[in-house]
Symmetry: C2
Subunit: 362 residues, 2 copies
């Protein structure tokens, strides 16, 4: 086996080693950043298993980012990814129709306005300063890229930049702006679809069709995400031309993930839908009472991320009645394939199972 | 290489040989049946290249079926699949809202009621007699299975039976009723989604997530379909546990396919959607003026297959004005990966490229 990459890892065995050489992780696997679900423990476990670990930073203050990165660095070796969001926050919205729609639920559960919860914030000056100071090996962006000036500073600080594409056009757009690798995000993926170039959600591409089209369209390495649940999916992604994979839902099953027991059980359901009712933007989630009764997509929901504010008091109150059908339980389509292994073991298992599938064809 | 299967073909090289042993084709590839697009020429070409060729029989009379099978047998060796539909035809429907919706288009193009075109018919007594007489190696069904009595007769005649599933539940249902192999039809697939057990179209599964879940749920061989565009996709399907693949759109690109030049060009578009406006049932098609203006899914469309009747005079008239946006141009999501090779060459290329991808990992 050859030794390569800036961390001197063994990189042989995979049919495409470009991601490993670029990033220096032991396995070509990214533990996906998942706000409210994957914090320091999950990231550390994935890194200990040889994955590129990720911290979702879109809902953290710069101080919280510094604190979490410090904790990860103290507990795990290897490359780390900090993930940020690149949406535009609407200046002000009329959410009266949305609140009126939710009012019956508010009354049913006796919801009371609570303290403001942090909303998802786009990458900004203070976050950029934290990146320049912390110098993570990788910075990933969702919903496009930050303004050129901020992007240049991230790159100048030495971090590799990766970002998600849901179409060939988005992948080309990202490559033209200098990202080091592109994540091909399939329709199957849990959480928010990253589409940012006015793409049609009804035309969302499954990973089987999306990944090879992006691989053909760009020269940079492609990372497959969406619907990959086990080693077979990892191997399939490499057959389609991926240099790495990113898995979220598989890691949600881990004991280190910070999700409710209701959410953990729901991952096995498999009947997820793309819905805008939790945030105002399409995200894949398990069905629950809110989606069943309102339908998955509502025009009344104000723009991302503002739809969440009116919903938080309701889901908080509903949970006290044992009802989790108002709480966002994000999940991808491969949820039923999950194992429940700890994150380090899951990472090693994904890699060894994938290599076994790939070698079986010899 | 080992020699096996009832036709004495070489079956080595593929990580799963169950389909090859069962069906006896040279390659584990099915040319998908496609009404109005894939007739005798396409089937013959695919068979000459070593695929299991298919004839779509849902719009043919028994006499036409006999004639087409005779022609195929005279021009190609190897196993043949006859495909039938298993929908219920609604007794009578009120299509006044649908006709009212289409009226402006009827006026715009000066559409005139023409002769009745044959609609899609479910598998029945006279089709069953034709199968018993013709004894194709394989009979495949879409939208479930025919009544038990007809199914038993097909099996007793010696044909293998395969059918499509869009969920794990549908795959189990088919296995319990004795089918010999199940087609896992992903969200990416062109044409009609086969769902028949009241499954939710909004929860349609991408092939990456669907295929391994079906492979795990049934003991019979699984056939992957939807979004597979080239040898990489074939290899990926085998990595996920498939015993064979079924490709439609890839064969639509062939010179032998009976589609319009407009349809052929549109295959490269890639922005397909699931729509019910052409038949009353969800099918994946390229966007056109009808979908753009009405939206892809309309409640006014009468039940499958009856929505088509009111539309035929309009698309016929529109075509005379060079407008193909009212004609169903069915296509899957991997259309942009097509080659335009003749069907025999395409089949051989798919097999050899897939085996090369699989061997690359050795």
């Amino acid at each position: 086996m050859a030794i390569d990459g800036k961390h001197g890892r063994m990189v042989n065995g995979w049919p495409d080693e470009r991601f490993l050489r670029l990033v220096g992780s032991e396995h070509p696997i990214i533990q996906a950043p998942m706000a409210n679900a994957g914090g320091v423990d999950l990231c550390v476990g994935a890194m200990q298993g040889g994955a590129l670990g990720s911290l979702p930073c879109g809902m953290l203050s710069p101080e919280q980012i510094r604190q979490q990165v410090g904790e990860v660095r103290g507990r795990a070796q290897g490359p780390l990814n900090l993930n940020f969001l690149c949406h535009s926050v609407p200046e002000s919205v009329d959410d009266s129709a949305w609140k009126a729609l939710l009012q019956p639920y508010s009354e049913e559960f006796g919801a009371e306005p609570g303290p403001d919860m942090p909303l998802r914030r786009p990458f900004n000056e203070s976050m950029c300063k934290a990146v320049e100071e912390l110098r993570p090996e990788v910075v990933s962006f969702h919903f496009g890229l930050p303004p050129d000036q901020l992007l240049s500073r991230v790159k100048a600080s030495g971090s590799l930049v990766i970002a998600s594409a849901t179409t060939v056009e988005e992948a080309r757009w990202l490559e033209e702006r200098g990202v080091d690798a592109v994540i091909a995000q399939g329709y199957e993926a849990g959480g928010h679809q990253s589409n940012f170039l006015d793409s049609d959600p009804a035309a969302a591409l499954g990973l089987f069709a999306l990944l090879p089209q992006i691989v053909d369209a760009v020269a940079i390495p492609s990372i497959a995400s969406g619907g990959i649940g086990d080693g077979r999916g990892v191997a399939a992604a490499f057959a389609l031309g991926a240099s790495a994979v990113q898995l979220g839902t598989a890691y949600l099953h881990c004991p280190e993930s910070a999700i409710s027991e209701a959410h953990r059980r729901a991952l096995r359901d498999g009947r997820t839908v793309l819905t805008n009712v939790y945030t105002g933007r399409l995200a894949r989630a398990v069905r629950g009472r809110l989606i069943d009764e309102l339908g998955p997509v509502r025009r009344e929901a104000p723009s991302y991320p503002l739809a969440t504010s009116a919903l938080i008091p309701i889901w908080t109150a509903a949970q006290k009645h044992g009802e989790f059908g108002f709480t966002p339980m994000l999940a991808g389509q491969a949820g039923p394939l999950g194992t429940g292994l700890p994150a380090a073991d899951l990472t090693r298992r994904l890699a060894s199972d994938a290599l076994a599938v790939l070698r079986r064809s010899a």
